[in-house]
C-alpha cells in the first residue's frame, strides 16, 4: 500500500518538511511551497527569527516533521507546575521537557535558538542523546505552554519528563564513579612512575635511602586508592560471601588484599618484592570496567510515571451542567466526564449518555473499533473515535485497569531475576582454582625455600587478578550496544545479548508489530474510476474506513459529492457527478440495490465493504490490518534459525490465524483474544516450562516482541522483552531492547549481532585466561617478580580492549 507520486502531486516538495505536497493541501507563501499550515507556521517562525540557516544545514534530516497541534495548556496548570517546574533565585522558572523527533546537530541548533523565537525564554539547552531540553524562562513574560507550542510547531512535540528523579539518582551515581576513576587513575599513574624509578634503580643501582623512600611513597599513595575508590570491591565481595555466593568481586578482593598486605609488610621490613604498582593499576582498570558495565544496564520501570505519560493530561468534568477542565490526576470516582471524539479516556467508568465507537488498541491490541452504548464499561487509555459520550467514573489513577496493568509492568521488571552472566558462573571455578594453585605453590616451595614460598604464592594471587576477565564482558557489550544503536537497535541491558544467543521461543504481538497497527485497505476488486467516486463520499465521513480509503489512494483526485448522508455503523451514500453511490456493509448495501455481491469477504479475517453505483454492485473492498513489509521474510528466517515463533495477540482469533498463515506459520502457533493479563500468564508459563540448553545449563530464552501497553506486562516478564517502534511508552520502559526501525525486520540483525557479541566475549575471556595461565606458570616456577606483573597485567587488559573494539558484532554503520 505504498503511495506513488503521480497526478495530483506537485513537483517540488514541502520547503519545511521535505514531503511531497498533495495539490489539495498545497499552500504557497513567499514563493515557497508547503504541504500544510503547520509547516508554513514552522517555516515562518524559523525565518522571522532570522534562522534561515536551518534549511542550509547539511545534516538536516529529510524525515517527516511531526506536529501535534495541541495547546499544552496543562503545562501551565498548578499541579504540573508543582511537579515539574522549579524557581531559580533570579526569579526565573526552570523545567526539563522530553522532545520527540530529536536526531542530530541541526536539532541542537534549532532548539537552542528558542530564545529568539519565544520572547521571555532565557535559556534552552538540549541533551541530544537523551532528547531532553532544559528550559529557563521569565514567568512574567511567557508561559511554558507558549514555549511548548513553539517546540511542537518546529516539529519537536514536547512531553513532561517524568523519569527525572530516577535519572538524577543515576546521574549522581555516574558522577561519583567518574570521580573515583579520576582519583584511582591519578594514583595509578603516579605509583607507576615511582615504580619505573624503582625498576631502573634495580637494574642500574640506587642508593638504599631512595629505594626506601620510593617504596614508602608507593605505600602512602596506594593506601587511599584502596580505601576509597577500591573499597567497592571489598564490600561487593563481602556481600557475596555473606549471601553464600561467589562473584567476580571475590577473586579481585583477594588479589588486591594479598598484594597490598604483602607490599605493606615488605615496605616495613625493607626487603622483598612489592606489588603496590600492580594494585594501583588494577583498581583503576577495574573501575573503568565497572563504569562501562553500569552504563550498559537498564533502569527499572516506574509504574506511576508511565501512567502519567499514557493517560491524557487533562479531562473535562461535568459539574452542575458546566464543563471544567481538570488535570487527570484530580479525576476521582463519582465524577462525570465529557469525552469528545478524539479524546483519550482519563479513567475507567460506565457510559451514561451517548453512543460511540472506541479504539481499544492501546489496552487490548484489538485492531477494530468497538461500539459502546449507555451502560457499557469503558477503560482509561482508550480513545473515543466517533461521537461524544458522558462517562461516570468508577476507578481512576492506579486502581484503573491501565494503572493495575502498569503496576504489573513494574513488578515484572523488578521480579525478573537478573540473568546469571557467564562471567559470574565461572567465578566459582576461578576462585577455587586460584586458591588451590596458590596453596600448591606455597607447599612446593616450602621444602626448598621457605622464605620464598609465601612470596611466590602471593605473586600468583596478584598476577591472576581477573582484571581482563572482568573487563571482557562490559567492554564487548558496550561496543556492541554502541554499534547497534547506530542501526536503530537500542539495547538497554547487556544481558539481553547473552540471552538471545540460544534459540528459544519467540512470541510476536500482531497489532503494530507484524502488522501496521491501523485499519488499511488490503484487497480491492473494482474498476479504477470507482475509486474517485468512493473517495468523494468518504471525504464526508470520520469513520476509520474513510481514513483507510484516503490513505490507500493518496494520488486519486475526488470530485465533489452532494446529498451525502451517513448511517452510523452501516455506510454512506450520496450523489457523485450525477450518479448515486453507496459504500457500506454488505447487508446494508444489498438491501438498497437489486442484490448480488457476496455477504462475506472471501478472506475471512477481512472486514468487507461493498460499493454500488446506480443500483449495481461494482466493487468489493476488504479491510484489515496490513502486514508490515518484510515481516514474513523475518519470521521465515527466524524459524530457519531454530526459533519457535508464535503469535500472541489481543485481536479476534480468526484475524490472528489469518495473519499467522500470511506469515507462513501454522495456525496452532497463533493465539488470539488474549487480554494483557493472559499474555503475561502465557509468558510466565513458557518461562516455567522452558527447556535447559543442556543438562544443568541456562534455560532457553522466552522472548516477547510487542508494541502496546497490552504487551508491556508480558514484555516485562519475558527473558528478553523487545519493543518495536511506534509503541507506547510503557512497552519501551518494560523492554530490554527497542527496535527503532519499526517492524520485526531488525530482529534478525539483533539476534545475529547478539550471537557474534557473545562469541567475542567468550574469545576475550579465553585470552584473559591464557594470560592468567602464563602468570600462574611463572609464579609457580618462582621466576615472576613485580616487573613481570606490572607488564603482564596491563598487556592482558589492553589485548582485551583492542579485541573488543575490533570485534565484528553489529555492522559499524547503517547498511
Amino acid at each position: 500500500m505504498t503511495s506513488t507520486p503521480t497526478r495530483g502531486v506537485t513537483a517540488s516538495p514541502c520547503a519545511h518538511c521535505g514531503l511531497e505536497v498533495l495539490s489539495g493541501d498545497r499552500r504557497v507563501s513567499d514563493g515557497r511551497t508547503y504541504c500544510c499550515a503547520g509547516c508554513e507556521t514552522a517555516a515562518t517562525i524559523i525565518r522571522q527569527s532570522g534562522l534561515d540557516g536551518f534549511y542550509d544545514l547539511p545534516e538536516r534530516r529529510n524525515e517527516r516533521v511531526v506536529t501535534s497541534g495541541r495547546s499544552y495548556a496543562e503545562f501551565d496548570h498548578a499541579s504540573f507546575v508543582t511537579a515539574h517546574v522549579t524557581r531559580t533565585r533570579e526569579g526565573l522558572a526552570e523545567a526539563a521537557l522530553y522532545l520527540e523527533g530529536v536526531h542530530c546537530a541541526s536539532c541542537v541548533w534549532l532548539v537552542e535558538r528558542l530564545p529568539l523565537a519565544v520572547r521571555g525564554t532565557v535559556r534552552a539547552e538540549l541533551d541530544v542523546t537523551r532528547a531532553i531540553v532544559h528550559l529557563a524562562w521569565d514567568p512574567e513574560r511567557t508561559t511554558l505552554s507558549a514555549i511548548a507550542r513553539c517546540l511542537d510547531r518546529l516539529g519537536y512535540p514536547p512531553h513532561a519528563y517524568r523519569g527525572r528523579r530516577a535519572a538524577e539518582a543515576r546521574r549522581a551515581e555516574e558522577r561519583a564513579m567518574l570521580t573515583r576513576i579520576g582519583i584511582a587513575g591519578a594514583i595509578a599513574a603516579n605509583v607507576m612512575t615511582i615504580a619505573l624509578a624503582l625498576y631502573s634503580g634495580f637494574f642500574s643501582g640506587m642508593d638504599g635511602e631512595f629505594v626506601r623512600y620510593f617504596r614508602w611513597l608507593s605505600l602512602v599513595l596506594v593506601t587511599p586508592a584502596l580505601l576509597w575508590p577500591g573499597r567497592g570491591f571489598f564490600t561487593g565481595a563481602i556481600a557475596a560471601l555473606r549471601a553464600g555466593q561467589l562473584n567476580m568481586d571475590v577473586p579481585i578482593a583477594i588479589a588486591l588484599a594479598a598484594g597490598f598486605a604483602q607490599g605493606a609488610v615488605n615496605t616495613w621490613r625493607d626487603s622483598g618484592p612489592i606489588y603496590l604498582d600492580a594494585v594501583g593499576t588494577l583498581i583503576f582498570l577495574l573501575l573503568v570496567g565497572r563504569y562501562l558495565q553500569h552504563r550498559a544496564q537498564r533502569s527499572a520501570a516506574d509504574a506511576a510515571a508511565l501512567l502519567g505519560a499514557l493517560s491524557p493530561a487533562t479531562a473535562r468534568v461535568i459539574e452542575n451542567a458546566t464543563v471544567r477542565e481538570l488535570p487527570s490526576e484530580a479525576v476521582l470516582p463519582g465524577m462525570l466526564l465529557d469525552v469528545r471524539a478524539g479524546d483519550t479516556l482519563a479513567a475507567d467508568g460506565v457510559v451514561e449518555r451517548g453512543a460511540s465507537s472506541l479504539d481499544l488498541a492501546l489496552l487490548t491490541g484489538e485492531s477494530r473499533p468497538v461500539s459502546v452504548d449507555v451502560g457499557a464499561r469503558v477503560f482509561a487509555g482508550t480513545v473515543n473515535l466517533s461521537s461524544p459520550i458522558e462517562v461516570r467514573v468508577d476507578e481512576s489513577g492506579m486502581t484503573s485497569r491501565l494503572g493495575r496493568l502498569l503496576r504489573d509492568v513494574e513488578l515484572g521488571s523488578r521480579e525478573r531475576a537478573p540473568l546469571v552472566l557467564f562471567a559470574d558462573r565461572m567465578s566459582f571455578y576461578f576462585v577455587a582454582a586460584v586458591l588451590l594453585l596458590a596453596g600448591l605453590t606455597a607447599g612446593l616451595w616450602w621444602s626448598t625455600d621457605p622464605a620464598a614460598a609465601l612470596d611466590h604464592a602471593i605473586a600468583l594471587l596478584v598476577v591472576t587478578c581477573p582484571c581482563a576477565l572482568a573487563m571482557a564482558t562490559p567492554l564487548s557489550v558496550t561496543v556492541a550496544i554502541g554499534r547497534a544503536a547506530r542501526l536503530g537497535i537500542l539495547i538497554k541491558s547487556g544481558h539481553a545479548l547473552e540471552a538471545l544467543t540460544s534459540q528459544g521461543t519467540l512470541f510476536l504481538d500482531k497489532t503494530g508489530t507484524v502488522t501496521e497497527g491501523r485499519l488499511g485497505l488490503v484487497s480491492w476488486r473494482g474498476a479504477d474510476d470507482v475509486r474517485s467516486q468512493v473517495l468523494a463520499l468518504e471525504r464526508h465521513s470520520r469513520h476509520p474506513i474513510a481514513a483507510a480509503f484516503a490513505a490507500a489512494w493518496p494520488e486519486v483526485e475526488a470530485p465533489v459529492a452532494t446529498e451525502v448522508s451517513e448511517v452510523l455503523g452501516a455506510g454512506i451514500e450520496g450523489l457523485v457527478a450525477g450518479r448515486r453511490v453507496l459504500v457500506g456493509r454488505p447487508t446494508w448495501v444489498r438491501e438498497r440495490v437489486k442484490g448480488g455481491g457476496p455477504v462475506r469477504h472471501p478472506r475471512r479475517e477481512l472486514t468487507p465493504v461493498l460499493v454500488a453505483v446506480d443500483g449495481h454492485i461494482v466493487a468489493q473492498a476488504g479491510f484489515g490490518d496490513p502486514l508490515r513489509p518484510g515481516a514474513r521474510a523475518a519470521v521465515e528466517s527466524l524459524v530457519r534459525a531454530g526459533w519457535e515463533v508464535r503469535l500472541l495477540s489481543g485481536d479476534a482469533p480468526h484475524v490472528v490465524e489469518g495473519i499467522a498463515s500470511a506469515l507462513g506459520l501454522d495456525r496452532s502457533r497463533a493465539e488470539g483474544g488474549a487480554t494483557p493479563e493472559r499474555k503475561r500468564e502465557v509468558i510466565r508459563v513458557a518461562r516455567a516450562t522452558a527447556q535447559p540448553l543442556h543438562r544443568g545449563g541456562a534455560l532457553r530464552p522466552v522472548v516477547m516482541v510487542g508494541d502496546g501497553v497490552n504487551d508491556a506486562a508480558a514484555i516485562a516478564s519475558a527473558t528478553v522483552g523487545i519493543a518495536v517502534r511506534g509503541g507506547a511508552e510503557a512497552s519501551l520502559a518494560a523492554a530490554d531492547v527497542y527496535l527503532a526501525r519499526g517492524g520485526v525486520g531488525a530482529l534478525e540483525e539483533l539476534i545475529e549481532g547478539a550471537r557474534r557479541t557473545t562469541a567475542i566475549i567468550r574469545r576475550n575471556m579465553l585470552i584473559a585466561l591464557g594470560y592468567n595461565a602464563i602468570g600462574v606458570t611463572l609464579a609457580m616456577m618462582g621466576i615472576i617478580d613485580p616487573l613481570f606483573a606490572a607488564i603482564l597485567m596491563p598487556t592482558s587488559s589492553l589485548t582485551v580492549v583492542l579485541l573488543a573494539w575490533q570485534g565484528r558484532t553489529f555492522p559499524r554503520s547503517a547498511p
Binding site: G50, L57, C104, A105, S106, V108, W109, E112, R113, P115, L116, E125, L126, D127, V128, T129, R130, R171, E174, R175, L178, T179, G182, I183, A186, N190, D207, F210, Y213, L217, L221
Partner: protein, 52 residues
C-alpha cells in the same frame, strides 16, 4: 639527588590540585553529556543573540 625529597611531594601536591579540579568538574556535571557540546560548537553564530 636529595632534592627529590622535596620535589616529589611538591609534584604530588600538584597532582592533588588537579585531582580536586577534576572531581569538582565531574561532580558539577561537566561530563554528563559529552555529545551535545561537540555539536553545539559547530553551529555557533558569529554574533550573540542579544545583539539583535
Amino acid at each position: 639527588m636529595s632534592v627529590l625529597f622535596v620535589l616529589v611531594p611538591v609534584a604530588l601536591a600538584l597532582v592533588g590540585i588537579f585531582v580536586a579540579a577534576y572531581a569538582w568538574s565531574a561532580r558539577s556535571g561537566q561530563f554528563d553529556d559529552l555529545t551535545t557540546p561537540a555539536m553545539r560548537v559547530l553551529h555557533e553564530d558569529p554574533e550573540r543573540p542579544e545583539a539583535h
